[in-house]
C-alpha cells in the first residue's frame, strides 16, 4: 500500500506537468490578451508591460521559465526586492550559510497588480474550502440518510418523499436557488445577512445552496447502491443466518454500498473547495472560484495556470484517497 501511494504521488507530478502544458498551450492560443481593455493600451505602453512580465520572450522560453520558477528551488539572499515577481510559496532560512531556500513561485497576477498567485490562493482558498466543507456537510448530512431511508423503505411513502425532494434539489440550479434564498432569508425575513463573509451566519445560505443539489445526487446514489447491495448473496446469507436487520444493513450492506458514493465525493470535494463562481457572486464571497473564472475572462495567465494546477492537485489527491478508501471498504480489491 505504501509503495502504491508513493508511486501515485510520483505519477501525480507527471500528470500535473501535462496539465500545465495543455493549459499553457490552449491559454495562449485563445485570442485576446491580459492587457486588452475597452480603452486599449498604446503599443509603447503594452511593450513596457510585456517587458515587465517577460511576455516579450518566445512562448517556449516563457513556459520554461514558468515551470522553472515553480519547480526549481532557489537559494537566495535573505531579503529579496519587494516585487510580485519573486513571491515564493516556501521560504526556509538556512542558518549555516545565512541564506534562504525558496521554492514554488507561481508568478504575479496581471490584473490585481499587487497580488501574486500565491497570495491570491492564500487569501481565497481558506474561504472557498470553508464554504466547500460546509456544502459537503450539508450534502452528506441530508443526502446519505435520505438515501438509506428510501432504500430500506423501498416504494413506500418515505421513499417517494425522499426521492421527490431530491429531484427538486437537483433540478434547481444554484443560480436560481441562491438569489431566492438571499431574497427570502436575507431581504424579507432578515434572518441572515444577504451577502458577506466572516461569521457562521454567512456560511449557512451559500453552503445550503451549493450542498442541496449535491445532497440530492448523493441520496439517489446511496439508494440505488444500497438496493443493489441488499440483493447480494452475502446479505441474504447474513439474513438467513438470522442476524438482526440493523446489523445486516449497518455493518455489511452500508459499507459496500458506499463505494459509488465515495467515488463521487472525491472529486466533488475537490471542486467544492476550489470554489463556486455562481455562489460566490450571489453571496459576495471572496473565494477562489471568482478569481478563477475572472482570470480566464481577463486572460490573467499566471492565475489561470496556478488555479488550474491547484485544482488538478486536489482532484488527484482526492482520487488517490478514494482509491485507498476502496481497499478499506472492500478488502478484495487489490492494487498490484
Amino acid at each position: 500500500m505504501g509503495a502504491f501511494i508513493v508511486r501515485r504521488m510520483l505519477q501525480m507530478l507527471l500528470v500535473l506537468f501535462v496539465i500545465s502544458l495543455f493549459t499553457f498551450v490552449v491559454m495562449r492560443a485563445v485570442p485576446g490578451g491580459p492587457f486588452s481593455s475597452e480603452k486599449s493600451l498604446p503599443p509603447r505602453t503594452l511593450a513596457q508591460l510585456e517587458a515587465k512580465y517577460n511576455l516579450d520572450e518566445p512562448l517556449v522560453m516563457q513556459y520554461i521559465h514558468y515551470i522553472g520558477d515553480i519547480a526549481i528551488p532557489h537559494i537566495t539572499e535573505n531579503r529579496l526586492e519587494n516585487s510580485v515577481l519573486n513571491d515564493y510559496l516556501i521560504n526556509i532560512y538556512i542558518p549555516v550559510v545565512d541564506r534562504t531556500f525558496r521554492w514554488m513561485n507561481f508568478g504575479p497576477s496581471y490584473k490585481s497588480v499587487s497580488q501574486t498567485v500565491n497570495s491570491i490562493i492564500k487569501d481565497t482558498l481558506p474561504v472557498s474550502a470553508t464554504l466547500g466543507i460546509g456544502a459537503l456537510l450539508v450534502a452528506l448530512v441530508i443526502g446519505v440518510p435520505a438515501g438509506i431511508i428510501a432504500a430500506l423503505n423501498r416504494n413506500s411513502r418515505w421513499d417517494y418523499i425522499a426521492m421527490g425532494v431530491s429531484i427538486v434539489g437537483v433540478s434547481i440550479p444554484v443560480i436560481v436557488l441562491g438569489p431566492v434564498l438571499r431574497y427570502v432569508f436575507g431581504v424579507q425575513l432578515k434572518w441572515l445577512p444577504p451577502t458577506g463573509w466572516g461569521g457562521i451566519e454567512h456560511i449557512i445560505m451559500p453552503a445550503f445552496a451549493l450542498g442541496f443539489a449535491e445532497s440530492a445526487r448523493l441520496a439517489r446514489l446511496t439508494r440505488a447502491s444500497l438496493l443493489q447491495v441488499l440483493n447480494e448473496d452475502y446479505i441474504r446469507t447474513a439474513r438467513a443466518k438470522g442476524l438482526a436487520e440493523r446489523v445486516v444493513v449497518g455493518l455489511h450492506a452500508l459499507k459496500n454500498a458506499m463505494l459509488p458514493v465515495v467515488t463521487t465525493i472525491g472529486p466533488l470535494f475537490a471542486f467544492l473547495i476550489t470554489g463556486s463562481f455562481v455562489a460566490e457572486l450571489v453571496f459576495g464571497i471572496p473565494g477562489l472560484g471568482k478569481f478563477f473564472v475572472t482570470s480566464i475572462t481577463n486572460r490573467d495567465y499566471p492565475v489561470i495556470m496556478g488555479t488550474t494546477l491547484l485544482l488538478g492537485f486536489l482532484v488527484i489527491v482526492a482520487n488517490l484517497i478514494v482509491d485507498v478508501v476502496y481497499v478499506w471498504l472492500d478488502p478484495r480489491i487489490k492494487y498490484d
Binding site: S171, V176, Y183, A216, A224, T263, L311, V315
Partner: protein, 347 residues
C-alpha cells in the same frame, strides 16, 4: 410492494451463470420488467411527449419565439401575479402590467414565455441526451477497460481522466468558439473552420455547447464505472467465469455490465441537470446559444437576474426543467431495476 419478503423468496440461482446459458432473455426480460414499472412508464411517456413538443414546437407554440412586442415587455396575466405575490399588478399599486395574451407572461423583450419554453425544449433535450451519450460511450468504455484490465492500462486511463478533470474546459470552449465562429473571424469560405462555424450557426450556436458538455461529461462516469468493476470483478461468479476460461468480452458484457449498470444509470440521470446548468453557465458568461434561440438554461440564467422582480421569468422554465428531470429520474430508477439481474423473478 414491500419487497423484503419477496426478495427473501427469490430464486437462489447464481445470476451470472443463469445469464450465460440464456443471454437474450436477460435483455428481453429487462424490457418486460421496465414496462411493468408504472412510474418508469410515466417517466418514459413524459420524455416521449417532450420530444414530440420539441419536434412540433412550431405547431404547438401559440406565438413565435422571437417576435418582440416591446410595449408588452415584462407583462403578465393576472393569475401569474396571484401565484407570485411579489408581482403586484399595476392596477393594485404595483408595477406589473396585466396582459392576458401571454399564458405565462412575456419576457423582458415582450416575447411569449410559454412559446419560448416550448422552443427551448429543443436545445435542452439535446443537451440532456448528448451529455449522457458521450458519458456512456467514452466514460463507460474507458471505465470498463480500466477497471477490468487493471495494471498499467488502468493507470494510464485514470491519469488521463485526472488531467481532463483538472483542465479548464471553459478555456477550451472559448478557444474553439473564437476560432470557429467565423463570421467574426478571418476565415475563408470552404475551409474546415468555416464549415464548423456554419454548422454552429445552423444549430443556433448549439455545437459548442455540445462540445463543452461532451468534454466535461465522461470523467465521472469513467471513475464510477471503474469503481464498480473493481468491486464486481472479485465476486464469486466472475472469478468462476474466469476460472472456467470464458473470454474477456462476454464476461464484460454479460456478467459485469448488467451488474454495474444500476448506479451508473442513476448517476447519469442525476447528472443531466448539471449539463443543463453548464449550458446555463455558458449562456451566463456569453458563450451560449445565439439569441434569439431560446434554451431553458439561458432563460433560467437570464431570469435569475430578475428573480425578485419578475420571478415568473426564471421559475417557469425551471419548472419545465423539473418536470423533465422528474421523468428522467423515474425512468432511471425503472432502468436500474430492470437491468439488475438479481431483480429477476421478483416482480
Amino acid at each position: 410492494m414491500t419487497s423484503n419478503l419477496k426478495r427473501s423468496t427469490a430464486a437462489a440461482a447464481i445470476p451470472g451463470l443463469n445469464a450465460e446459458t440464456k443471454p437474450e432473455s436477460l435483455w428481453r426480460s429487462s424490457v418486460q420488467r421496465l414496462t411493468r414499472n408504472r412510474s418508469a412508464v410515466v417517466g418514459l411517456a413524459i420524455i416521449l411527449l417532450t420530444i414530440l413538443v420539441a419536434v412540433f414546437a412550431p405547431q404547438l407554440a401559440p406565438m413565435d419565439y422571437k417576435t418582440q412586442v416591446l410595449s408588452d415587455a415584462n407583462t403578465a396575466p393576472r393569475w401569474v401575479t396571484q401565484v407570485f405575490p411579489v408581482m403586484r399588478p399595476a392596477d393594485d399599486g404595483g408595477y406589473v402590467k396585466i396582459n392576458e395574451t401571454y399564458l405565462l407572461g412575456a419576457d423582458r423583450l415582450g416575447r411569449d414565455l410559454f412559446s419560448r419554453i416550448i422552443y427551448g425544449t429543443r436545445v435542452s433535450l439535446m443537451v440532456a441526451f448528448v451529455g449522457p451519450l458521450v458519458a456512456l460511450i467514452v466514460g463507460l468504455t474507458l471505465g470498463l477497460v480500466s477497471g477490468y484490465v487493471g495494471g498499467w492500462v488502468d493507470n494510464v486511463i485514470m491519469r488521463f481522466t485526472d488531467i481532463m478533470y483538472a483542465f479548464p474546459t471553459l478555456l477550451l470552449v472559448i478557444l474553439l468558439m473564437s476560432f470557429f465562429r467565423s463570421s467574426l473571424g478571418n476565415v475563408e469560405p470552404g475551409t474546415f473552420a468555416f464549415q464548423v462555424g456554419e454548422l454552429d450557426r445552423a444549430s443556433g450556436g448549439m455545437l459548442f455547447i455540445f462540445i463543452g458538455v461532451g468534454l466535461t461529461s465522461w470523467m465521472q462516469t469513467a471513475r464510477l464505472t471503474r469503481g464498480q468493476v473493481l468491486f464486481v470483478r472479485e465476486q464469486e461468479y466472475i472469478t468462476a467465469a474466469r476460472a472456467i476460461g470464458s473470454p474477456t468480452w462476454p464476461i464484460l458484457t454479460r456478467h459485469i455490465l448488467p451488474n454495474i449498470l444500476g448506479p451508473i444509470v442513476v448517476a447519469e440521470t442525476l447528472t443531466i441537470p448539471r449539463y443543463i446548468s453548464f449550458e446555463a453557465f455558458l449562456s451566463f458568461i456569453g458563450l451560449g446559444v445565439n439569441p434569439p434561440t431560446p434554451s431553458w438554461g439561458a432563460m433560467i440564467s437570464e431570469g435569475a437576474g430578475a428573480i425578485s422582480t419578475y420571478p415568473n421569468q426564471a421559475i417557469f422554465p425551471a419548472l419545465a426543467l423539473f418536470l423533465v428531470m422528474f421523468s428522467f429520474n423515474f425512468l432511471g430508477d425503472g432502468l436500474r431495476d430492470a437491468l439488475d439481474p438479481r431483480m429477476r423473478g421478483i416482480e
